[in-house]
Symmetry: C2
Subunit: 557 residues, 2 copies
């Protein structure tokens, strides 16, 4: 099937493939919501468009004959239901439609699939602001993060998956003539190969990053020829529903079955994820969320799974030039979206002898004070705090702050009620800091999702490294931050944390944070520890979605 779309987007795809290999900065979709890029009225129109969805049926999807209309979203800023409803379909209907669409989609060439998918990202781009407001009012992210993470950053991660999938499928020849010298004659075979997609893909989204964590798996499965059922978290549907709708429209406009990409929403009284995941025709599962369900997904027989689960992220403090700058940087990292990020740091390891600052030893207590002081200053800054903290997606997160205190830990900084200046009903909280001893291992051997910092007093930097490695190896880790001016210690951290499959950011100060992760450059999640078995986007992320099958026949004559 030749759709002649390739020419249109060839340049974008080529640049993206190049970026994958250079791993320097590359963004197809600018992260700044500035009018000269996105249009003078883009923000206003996006907000209005978002409002039209409220208390209405989401009727853009091209999936026919819904069994009912369902929706459970509510705004963490307003603490009231959005009232958006989505068509409901039984798992059997979803899978049988996906299976039918499979046999059309798998015959579209990788190049055409890549182009169609880039086209859908270009359409998504026109709705970045609408998606931003939908993200704010489902996840509780502040406006800027909602725009960037759900819009351009997500689209770039999707493009990354498209580029990688396109490259892997075209990396070997489609056909060749194989000629083997046999002495008296040459044996000649015509050979050809097909990259055969595995089957129906299921992508299970999370409540905090409804597009960013969903589109990599979704576009990776699609570009490799697998139909996809997108199953969002029931509390965060709208942002990804808009993306799915755009994909469906592009498919239909090009004469293809829109069920190649379906949205699957839980009904209030019928959760469908397990039925979908266990369906024999579902061959690929992408999952973002908690450990318990993630381990269940990984254990399903006969499935290829890609998971991002929970982890215990560490900060190792050894030595630095400027403690204030370090404290400010870390304060931002733990305050950003109230710590509701899989990359947010939790366990801060500080030696009992303190840290070296510009060659001078600064006592342990002072380090703790500086960090607490920086957090306090940030949450008390009315110009910054509301735009950094956002709101709390899930009431359970607020509850968790109290439970995070163990019998032997000391409260260094308590969480306070925080009044959002725009949304009086916003569900908010500010970071809490507890101090625990390294010996109290149980208290810090688990992810405390939300704005919880544990400062762990260790014997030495060597012990800090040892425990950070142990935590990552046994409980998973997605990020690690380290501060050291000593090149030997730096190499030791790199070596030990690499064995724990954990990327390390060194000596971050200023406008770059350990939580951040750049498409085309940073592999997100390594697959090397229990925090997940997949990585955006290394070649494994796409290769496992198809099978190489070869054919051969003697050359005639």
């Amino acid at each position: 099937m030749n759709l002649n779309l390739m020419d249109k987007h060839q340049e974008i795809i080529d640049k993206a493939v190049q970026a994958l290999h250079e791993r320097t900065f590359f963004a197809q979709y600018p992260e700044n919501p500035q009018p000269d890029v996105y249009g003078e009225n883009a923000d206003k129109e996006g907000r209005e468009k978002y409002k039209t969805h409220l208390n209405s049926k989401f009727e853009e999807l091209l999936q026919e004959n819904p069994e009912s209309w369902v929706g459970q979203e509510e705004s963490p800023y307003e603490q009231q239901p959005l009232g958006v409803t989505y068509p409901f379909f039984s798992p059997e209907t979803l899978v049988s439609r996906a299976d039918e669409a499979y046999h059309q989609w798998r015959k579209v060439s990788p190049a055409d699939r890549a182009s169609l998918l880039v086209e859908s990202l270009e359409r998504m781009k026109t709705r970045f602001f609408e998606i931003a407001y939908a993200t704010m009012h489902t996840t509780g992210q502040a406006y800027m993060m909602s725009f960037q993470a759900s819009g351009p950053h997500a689209a770039d991660r999707a493009l990354e998956a498209i580029a990688s999938g396109f490259e892997e499928q075209t990396r070997f020849p489609e056909s060749t003539e194989w000629e083997k010298p046999m002495g008296k004659y040459n044996l000649k075979l015509n050979k050809s190969w097909r990259a055969v997609p595995k089957g129906v893909g299921l992508v299970i989204g999370c409540s905090t990053f409804p597009t960013w964590n969903t589109v990599p798996g979704m576009f990776a499965s699609l570009v490799t020829g697998n139909p996809v059922i997108v199953k969002p978290h029931p509390k965060a549907v709208l942002p990804i529903a808009i993306v799915v709708a755009e994909v469906q429209k592009v498919l239909q406009e090009n004469g293809l079955n829109p069920n190649i990409c379906q949205l699957a929403v839980d009904a209030d009284d019928r959760l469908i994820t397990k039925d979908l995941a266990e369906h024999p025709k579902v061959k690929l599962i992408d999952y973002t969320g908690g450990n318990e369900f993630g381990n269940y997904v990984e254990g399903l027989p006969g499935k290829v799974t890609f998971t991002e689960k929970t982890g215990v992220n560490s900060i190792i403090l050894d030595s630095m030039d400027d403690l204030d700058k370090v404290a400010q940087n870390l304060a931002f990292s733990v305050t950003l979206y109230s710590g509701q990020m899989c990359t947010a740091p939790q366990n801060f390891f500080v030696p009992e002898t303190g840290v070296k600052v510009g060659g001078e030893q600064v006592p342990y207590e002072e380090v703790v004070e500086k960090i607490a002081g920086a957090v306090t200053a940030l949450v008390n800054n009315p110009k910054a705090a509301p735009h950094i903290l956002g709101a709390i997606q899930n009431p359970a997160t607020t509850e968790r702050l109290k439970g995070a205190k163990s019998a032997n830990s000391r409260e260094v900084l308590s969480s306070c009620d925080f009044e959002n200046p725009v949304f009086a009903n916003a569900r908010t909280c500010t970071p809490v800091i507890y101090e625990v001893d390294a010996t109290d291992k149980e208290s810090y051997s688990r992810e405390l999702f939300g704005p919880v910092v544990l400062i762990i007093k260790t014997k030495s930097t060597d012990q800090s490294i040892e425990i950070a490695k142990e935590m990552a190896t046994n409980h998973g880790a997605i990020s690690c931050g380290a501060y050291t001016t000593d090149s030997e210690i730096k190499e030791k951290i790199m070596d030990e944390m690499s064995l724990a499959g954990t990327p390390v950011s060194f000596n971050l100060t200023g406008g770059i944070y350990v939580n951040q992760n750049a498409s085309f450059s940073d592999f997100h999640v390594t697959g090397g520890n229990p925090a997940g078995n997949a990585s955006f986007t290394n070649p494994e992320f796409v290769i496992k979605r198809f099978t190489w099958v070869g054919f051969r026949e003697p050359v005639q004559g």
Copy 2:
């Protein structure tokens, strides 16, 4: 660590990488045992060298302080023990030595690892004839297959894995400067990445192809920085022991720990495979053998596994130009090494209406007769038969021939005792052919390892395709042969068998057989059906053996 070996073998590695991508004919190691390539006396010397091992300790390994000396091999040609004994080590000793070696090996660069491994293949080359005789007298393969499969073909598959592993580890930059425009300034980070090997690898060999099926996983794990424990089948140790010894010598000569690659042999009273496989430090397992143990291996938690298990390979007969040539080709395929190949065809689907030959319909019965006749002619050809049949590795295979007959099947050709002209005591048998109806599904839904052909009478070619696909999907398949002159039927077979993850050879006649599989061109096993989850050598085969871990730090100044 820079060993300066790269220059020496750079050309071989570069050519091998190129061959992987062109997938045209490439062989670093010539398959013909001709004197002008391997030396005038190579065969004689190899045979003598082989004989020196008999009834002796194999003392070439550099693994120290064995607990005892063990060996259970016996020659299928002579039906008596070889008397070779190997050092025995407990699983705990093997794994702790491997783990120690890991921390040295992982720090050697991918380029140096690749060169050291190519060097070891070059040493292996000097022992191809010795390995050939060792293979004959453990597997029962005939001389030519023993030489080719265990020598040059195995070395080429090993080189393929080295080349692929080298390429995948060097495909992304080791470091880069990442510069992001932030409006008023540029944010600059130094980034670097490491391909971190997963840990101790275990390679579990089979009794019929002791080097060919072992070296791909072994060299794939090694080139990606993982130490390897090679656990051969207790009845086929010597061929791979020689390879391991050569690897160890190269490691030691270059100042490295020879325990980077260890041989692990079962004692008569102590089977060690499960203890090794279940050891928490063993992270990678390559396995070739039966389904039961293979499924156990695939189900082990916390391991990355690469399996090749059993399958039910089909031949689909629809239409052809010359039935005699087809029958001769198939007769060779089922007779070769008495069908003891994972790629040997078993289920021959013939429509009850017969097949079209040069446009004329030939009745079903005549097709069956032609095939039986061609097998009879081949096994009665004294010049050819002994060199094709070889001997039977395992007495259970001979037993299986009788058990293969179901209540409703008809014996078309019985197996006869075959006297090997050189080895009077050789354990031999010739192919048996049973005819069964397509409705008698149970009788052909399993692998009957050995020279067993089932001719299955179907309603039509469509039904032949349908059942061949079903067999591959449910019970696995590693090869498929099809004969058709109809391009629509050909496309249908390609499409259906590709969904079953099974490669298809079309219209083979003359000197090329469905059992054969060429390094650098044919992916061996697709991973797309129950016959195995791994493929020699697609990128997945090496990528899953290491983890990408990234590091980043602001550019100073």
